[in-house]
């Protein structure tokens, strides 16, 4: 498996676990309604996720030798662009929902959490496409 595919799996896995925990806490009512409660809970989970991803990247880079130190080549860049393009559509849709529709009908905490969900979904789409492109081939 390519080094960059491994890092995509790592990032996706950590992200899904971290935000599954966060949104489970939100849905079960364990996160208070104040903005500070949301920022505090999300901040802690996001920080732990970021630390785990960084540690994982370092471990993968060290165990991959020269490949881990190599710059992304044209295929890596094309695959990343593909993931980012799809993520942009998801994020744009989420932004319209959060910024244009929800302010007329929903309370602030739900708007904030929906915005966070849109970011997580966009990133998930990006990494799923990146992994699929590495596994199934890319014909740009």
């Amino acid at each position: 498996m390519a080094y960059r595919e491994k890092t995509a799996w790592l990032t996706l896995g950590c992200m899904l676990v971290a935000y599954a925990i966060y949104f489970s806490l939100v849905l079960s009512g364990h996160v208070g309604p104040r903005l500070l409660d949301i920022i505090w809970t999300f901040g802690i989970i996001a920080s732990i996720q970021a630390i785990l991803v960084i540690i994982g990247h370092v471990v993968l880079a060290l165990s991959s030798g020269a490949e881990g130190r190599a710059k992304p080549d044209e295929r890596d860049r094309a695959i990343t662009r593909r993931g980012r393009s799809a993520a942009y559509v998801v994020l744009l849709t989420g932004t319209i929902v959060v910024g244009v529709v929800m302010p007329f009908s929903d309370p602030a905490p739900r708007i904030v959490n929906t915005a966070l969900l849109a970011i997580v979904l966009a990133e998930t789409v990006s990494y799923v496409l990146i992994i699929a492109s590495y596994r199934r081939g890319w014909h740009g």
Binding site: A2, Y3, E5, E67, A70, D73, E74, R75, D76, Y134, R136, G137, W138, H139, G140
Partner: protein, 73 residues
């Protein structure tokens, strides 16, 4: 717009590596600035390289481009 004709790019990279003293995918990758996995993907027809990369591959083997890559319709 007219529908493009069906077909795919095929290549002779495996054969050319064999003829170049069994050059490894990693060696070829180093010489053209790509990872071994990308060379493997090109060789397997899972990735179509840019024109620039295709010329670089042909240059490594000292062959014209159409001896390395062909269009199979």
């Amino acid at each position: 717009m007219a529908k493009p004709l069906p077909g795919r790019v095929v290549n002779q990279i495996r054969l050319l590596r064999f003829m170049a003293d069994e050059m490894t995918q990693a060696e070829l990758g180093d010489r053209i600035g790509m990872t071994r996995q990308t060379v493997a993907a090109i060789e397997a027809g899972k990735y179509s390289p840019t024109l620039e990369a295709a010329f670089r591959i042909a240059q490594v083997f000292g062959k014209p481009l159409d001896e390395v890559f062909q269009w199979e319709g």
